[in-house]
Symmetry: C2
Subunit: 362 residues, 2 copies
């Protein structure tokens, strides 16, 4: 299988209301069934009128742009300086919600299409109905990557083509079954198209010829299939934002109890982290003998039924009021260290008759 | 400009010590000057002997694999379940350090080439010296993306081609200068090559014909140019890891003072976060009158010279020892909330003669 990647020249300026199907057919009358059409999202946005007026410069422009960005943003993922990595309402994570000021008048900004999969489906349907062509469509845009310099084009919208080629279940020549190999072929096709398109020379469409597509009546799942579900997203926040969230969480640790048998090593680590920097004489004790634990726990006011671990904390003696304040801070530090180990805790008064001044139920 | 992407069939199994240049030339005698050769890293690794023996199955295999992964890992970026996203010694961030068990005997694992840019340079030099061909080389591998399902092929090693096409400074037809557009063309070329290569059918090499390359004596900066510098990496840790790091940081907040004029709104936010859940009667006071501030600060033992902000904290009265412990915990919570706002603080005894029981210098 050889692929051919061809630019489509002569499309020219696109304005709101323009008929992309006819513009593309005029520029590429050589289009054939099975060719994959890679269309830069910007001309789709322009044809669909996804433009907003903004001042050409000055602080008013910055303010207007910030308002547009806020409207296009479902949530901020990371921010540093003027950079904003956000998740759009579509679910895409990208810089500045894909808002673009290039290849448009200085007084306008181009937003992403409202529903790029729907845009792809509409273009495919128009080419089929009016020109009898069965042409899979990819709407592409340029995105950055967190750990690699430089940008690549990827698919925002897809119709008539599966976004992913799933190799799972195939067996390699050595008899190994492939387990994790789902290739995002539409992103690779979008990137291939970018190689022949121009950023500044009015080549917003490329054609990939020779990619094995199956003629199909349906449009498939679209590029939405490429959006990682939030439950599987290990990078839902920038590192600085997540670290600040951890600090903020430490400011309001939920009271609670955790697993019925927390890892004693995790408890020891938490105690060690804090214990290294407390006032000499401060004692944190993990009560491990079941009989002692149950006897002491029964005397602690407010002991939660689910708690199965007791930590006792005693300050250095003698203690003045500020010494107790420092000790209380150290107990909260221990709670934060336990939380960092995934262990919730509850601060309680100490069991009467012990040297402890506070207790933690885990 | 049209591009042609062609698979190279007939390369067959590659073993340690094999001469890739001659294998490729035998399989693709039609190769021409300026063709870009996209070579799957796996055959480079095999030719270079980057294989390790492991048990074919059982817990011994898992243990051996974990040891291999640890050796290939510079640092762990994120972990969940069996998934490990790590930064390799090269600087690439990828799952399992690129270690692969497909297309190899069940008793071996394939590691990434030690220096893929050097591998690319060596292959380019061999083709030039022995066959008189000037062929840019891309060593490719398959990587995941944090926010998009599916994998794509990208460049691990490059020779004879710039990794990035920098459009900065170009002017679009509307007169806007392009500011941020540096395209990682070698990643797009690697992805285009993947479209004609097979995961299971022994097509480890593709040729891209027609991409405008300039004949050049040097090899260029290689794929290392694509590795984002850590100072610019907003996602150096997974969200869970960074959040845990924030909690751990709260367990050992550094004492210190921050900017000379901290944002009063940030201080108010931190006080509000904690103040909503303290015992009734607890008072946090931001001392803003300069004369009062200086007079009080002068009486606080250990007041740091750089500090310019004073927060006073007073517990509800009357206080018993456990009440002071709880109050101390609340003061540390305030310090964590201030840290989440980027404001370091130092816990100090209160100014004599006030109702405060603790002071914070910012």
């Amino acid at each position: 299988m050889n692929l051919e990647i061809m630019p489509v020249h002569g499309i020219g300026h696109v304005s709101e209301g323009d008929d992309l199907a006819s513009m593309i057919m005029s520029a590429a009358p050589w289009l054939r069934d099975g060719d994959v059409l890679v269309v830069t999202s910007k001309i789709v946005s322009k044809a669909e009128g996804r433009l907003v007026d903004v001042p050409a410069d000055g602080p008013e422009r910055l303010t207007a742009r910030a308002e547009v960005l806020a409207a296009e943003t479902a949530r901020v993922v990371a921010a540093r300086g003027a950079t904003r990595i956000v998740q759009t309402h579509h679910g895409f994570v990208m810089a500045a919600a894909g808002i673009d000021a290039s290849n448009v008048d200085k007084t306008r900004l181009v937003l992403l299409p409202v529903d790029p999969d729907a845009s792809a489906r509409a273009l495919r349907a128009a080419l089929r109905q009016r020109y009898g062509l069965d042409v899979p469509i990819i709407i592409s845009d340029t995105m950055g990557r967190p750990w690699r310099n430089g940008l690549t084009d990827v698919a925002l919208g897809v119709a008539g083509l599966d976004a992913v080629h799933d190799h799972r279940g195939e067996v390699d020549p050595y008899g190994n079954e492939l387990e994790l190999t789902q290739m995002a072929v539409v992103d690779e096709l979008a990137g291939a198209g970018e190689l022949v398109k121009g950023k500044c020379d009015q080549v917003p469409v490329a054609v990939v010829r020779g990619y094995p597509t199956t003629p199909r009546a349906d449009d498939g799942l679209g590029a939405r299939a490429l959006i990682r579900d939030s439950s599987l997203d290990l990078f839902s926040l920038g590192t600085a934002e997540a670290r600040a969230a951890g600090l903020a969480e430490a400011a309001n640790l939920p009271t609670g109890t955790g697993p019925t048998a927390p890892d004693p090593a995790a408890i020891d680590r938490a105690i060690a982290v804090v214990g290294a920097t407390v006032a000499p004489g401060t004692v944190f004790t993990h009560v491990t003998d079941p009989a002692t634990h149950d006897q002491l726990a029964s005397t602690v006011p407010g002991w939660p039924a689910a708690a199965n671990t007791l930590l006792l904390a005693a300050p250095p003696t003698p203690v003045d009021p500020f010494g107790l304040v420092r000790f209380g801070a150290d107990v909260h530090r221990l709670r934060a260290a336990l939380a960092a180990e995934g262990l919730p805790s509850t601060l309680l008064p100490p069991p009467p008759g012990t040297s402890a001044t506070a207790a933690l139920a885990l």
